[in-house]
């Protein structure tokens, strides 16, 4: 792992997204439900005139989060865009170090910082699992 990452919190767990994959961080805002979609799909929101699909990142990673998920990380990969609802966006930092292999398919690895394991999100893999869970 080497590069600038946006770090975020979900419940008691911490994750990081490579900054190249982050367009912006927004409030959760008002979501319109999208009937016919899976439980990880929270709905769509109006983000400055664009329609942004928002997903429950905790549910995708199958972990427990606080109620509410007030923040949205707007992630992008090769033109595919999705909002990832999280508890908190903590900071933007340069991460460097040897990654340990991670079990979850949506993670490219994990690194240990200040005694806490940080999962590095692989946005491409995360998006394919989101696309699979959308319907």
């Amino acid at each position: 792992v080497n590069g600038v990452h946006v770090r975020l919190r979900l419940g008691r767990e911490r994750y990081a997204v490579p900054i190249e994959n982050v367009l912006e961080v927004a409030e959760l805002g008002t979501l319109s439900a999208l009937p016919g979609t899976g439980p990880a799909m929270l709905g769509v929101r109006n983000l400055r005139g664009q329609v942004l699909p928002v997903f429950d990142l905790a549910r995708v990673l199958a972990i427990a989060a606080d109620a509410g998920l007030p923040r949205v990380v707007v992630a992008e990969h090769e033109g595919w865009i999705a909002g990832l609802a999280v508890d908190e966006v903590t900071d933007v930092v340069a991460l460097a170090g040897a990654a340990e292999p991670a079990e979850a398919e949506s993670l490219s690895g994990a690194i240990l910082e200040d005694d806490q394991l940080i999962g590095i999100l692989d946005i491409e893999r995360l998006f394919s699992s989101l696309a699979a869970q959308a319907a």
Binding site: T30, S32, A33, L34, P35, G36, T37, M41, V44, R45, N46, G49, Q50, V51, P53, G79, W80, I81, A82, E105, E124, R125, F127, S128, S129, L130, A131, A132, Q133, A134, A135
Partner: protein, 652 residues
């Protein structure tokens, strides 16, 4: 020259000129030895298209010269290479064509004889050039015209801004209305003025990017009549939706494919009057050209009521899994005979390439004896549609106004064979809850709830909602590729109050309502008896997409990362009914996997569908040679195609 609209000739000139540029480039590349592998195919298609279009606009000198060039290229295509000695006469013929296209041509009996002789002399035989090295004619200065060239992206930026301005306007109206300023005289006047200005701006901006289909179809009825007369057939052309606006860049490139399709239909589709009468059809054949906006795309359909595909083609389509794939293979012809009316193997593959170059797709439907329907789906740069907005269970939905028949309030309902229905003017229409149909939690219905009657694909459904919010012109926004598997929605629109309206596809709603109690969006749970599909793909994204599509359709899905992985699985468990595989993969390619399956001791009959990003003829051939049952290209990848193919092969 016959009397044809000058607009059509102008379009022909632009297109032919572009194709001639490419022909010359390709010939020169062949001479240098660095041409693309499909160079001869590309030459053949370009010349063929020029011939066809020139015939259509009555430029007989052009079509005569192009015809002999095409002949020579057809034999080169057959031999797999173009003889070096043939390049020079083809270059000179291209120059002569260019002069004709520019309106300065003269008949070329010498060139025609030379090229005919070159073809007769055979591929390898040296051909003496009659003239020294080719000379490119100096292009004349552009004809006096008051048009300017603007990059399409600049107009797209303008359109985006217009779309945003429409949204801004709705927001402003909403805010002013909410704060009670709406009644103020000056504010009202300025708002009215703003609305008129915005309408003008919208019209002008859209007009820069789009033209109605009618701008290219005007000469078609006459051309169809002439072609029909030439072949001794009676054909009537019916144009529906000529006012449909299409992207200008697409429209200009669309006349060629349309001409191809009409010529095909007249040449091979529609039968002679006697043959039609013997088959119990009216002597006069019917050809329909229809355009219709559906969300952010326009569907252009060419349909005939002729003889349709042959039984042999149908059998091939069954074997390969897709009629569209069979008919759009390079070299496939719907006719046995070679005539000047229609081609010898060019047609649908060129139309498909065109449609895909525009970011669209093609679909063909046909049955022996029952005509053919070719559907082109083309994108729109700015999609504005009029919708009826309704509310149900807390969500706002929009129905395209074109599909809305009427809105009534719910009175007495009746029950037909256990299904709810309402009666309107003596006709009973199936009644459904909009919430349930789209897959939302069904909330209690209000009393005397409004009911909207939608019509699509010849069927109707009456939908119960909570409130009618009114009619609005909205900008269609795509839900994005992550949600592309949701066929229910045409997209979404942002309303004046910032809320999002979900634009529902009436055709899908009508279909869903026809299935008793089962909403289309509720994925059936795979039963233990459901067929098992093995998806072999090294890209995780595509693998998971295919898995989700197949699972949503009720299949049980197993995945493998490459051919070796797949083969291990087949050798071990073996409980697989069909394989869907990519071609380029590490360890073992899809072609090698297919060959291994065909050579397998016990599983050699396992159906294999190849899905690949490689769309060229060689690759297709490799796949077919290896024994694949169907072949699909990712660029045109469509989940309906995949499901249709899989369904056909596992016989569900």
């Amino acid at each position: 020259m016959s009397v044809v609209d000058s607009e059509f000739i102008g379009i022909f000139r632009d297109e032919a000129s572009g194709r001639l540029d490419r022909i010359v480039d390709t010939l020169l590349a062949l001479e240098r030895g660095d041409a693309a592998p499909d160079a001869v195919d590309s030459l053949f298609r370009d010349v063929h298209t020029i011939k066809g279009a020139a015939g259509m606009v009555g430029l007989t000198d052009v079509s005569a010269l192009a015809h002999v060039m095409e002949d020579l290229l057809a034999s080169a295509r057959h031999d797999g290479a173009l003889a070096a000695a043939h390049i020079d006469p083809l270059l000179r013929a291209s120059d002569a064509l260019r002069l004709h296209v520019e309106g300065r041509g003269e008949p070329n009996p010498g060139l025609i004889a030379e090229i005919t002789a070159a073809k007769a002399a055979g591929n390898g035989a040296p051909v003496e050039p009659h003239q020294p090295a080719p000379r490119t004619p100096v292009p004349e200065p552009a004809a006096e015209s008051r048009s300017i060239r603007v990059p399409a992206e600049k107009i797209d930026t303008l359109l985006d801004l217009v779309g945003e301005t429409v949204l801004h306007r709705r927001r402003l109206e909403h805010e002013l209305g909410a704060n009670g300023h709406g009644g103020h005289g000056i504010v009202t006047d300025e708002l009215d003025r703003g609305e008129r200005l915005l309408d003008g701006l919208k019209g002008a901006a859209i007009g820069m990017r789009t033209l109605p289909l009618s701008s290219i179809v005007t000469p078609l009825p006459r051309a169809v009549r002439d072609l029909a007369a030439e072949t001794g057939k009676e054909v009537e052309l019916v144009v529906v939706g000529a006012e449909t606006e299409l992207d200008r860049a697409i429209l200009e490139g669309l006349s060629e494919p349309l001409v191809h399709l009409l010529r095909n239909a007249i040449g091979h589709g529609i039968e002679s009057p006697q043959e039609r009468e013997e088959a119990g059809k009216p002597a006069r054949g019917r050809l329909e050209l229809r355009a219709e906006q559906r969300g952010s795309i326009v569907e252009v359909t060419v349909a005939d009521d002729g003889r349709g595909i042959s039984e042999a083609t149908l059998a091939e389509a069954r074997r390969k899994g897709s009629l569209t794939a069979v008919l759009t293979e390079p070299g496939f012809s719907t006719a046995d005979a070679v005539s000047t009316i229609s081609g010898r193997g060019v047609g649908l593959d060129a139309v498909k390439d065109q449609a895909e170059a525009f970011g669209g797709s093609i679909e063909v439907h046909s049955e022996p004896g029952h005509g053919m329907r070719v559907i082109l789906r083309l994108p729109l740069a700015l999609a504005l549609i009029e919708v009826l907005l309704v509310e149900r269970a807390g969500n706002v939905y929009g129905f395209p106004l074109a599909s809305v028949e009427e809105a009534v309030s719910l009175g007495a309902t009746l029950s037909l064979a256990g299904e709810a229905a309402i009666e309107l003017r003596g006709r009973s229409i199936g009644l459904a809850d909009l919430a349930q149909l789209v897959g939302a939690d069904p909330a209690p219905q209000v009393s005397r709830a409004p009911v909207v009657v939608l019509a699509a694909s010849g069927r109707r459904v009456a939908l119960v909602c909570d409130a009618l919010l009114g009619k609005e012109e909205v900008v269609v926004k795509s839900l994005g590729p992550l949600l592309s598997s949701l066929s229910m929605y045409l997209g979404a629109a942002i309303l004046g109050d910032g809320r999002i309206a979900l634009l529902v596809d009436p055709a899908v709603l009508v279909r869903a309502s026809a299935q008793p109690r089962a909403a289309a969006v509720v994925a059936p749970v795979a039963e233990a008896s459901a067929p098992r599909v093995l998806v072999v793909e090294d890209s995780l994204t595509i693998r998971e997409l295919q898995r989700s599509i197949l699972e949503a359709a009720g299949y049980r899905v197993q995945t493998a990362r490459d051919g070796r992985d797949a083969l291990t699985y087949i050798n071990g468990d073996g409980a697989i009914d069909l394989v869907v595989t990519d071609v380029e993969m590490p360890e073992m390619t899809g072609i090698e996997l297919t060959e291994a399956i065909r050579a397998h001791a016990t599983r050699s009959a396992l159906p294999v569908v190849i899905v690949t990003s490689l769309g060229d003829a060689d690759d297709r051939q490799r796949g077919i040679d290896a024994g694949a049952d169907a072949y699909m290209v990712k660029r045109s990848f469509d989940q309906h195609d995949l499901l249709e193919t899989v369904e056909r092969l596992v016989g569900r």
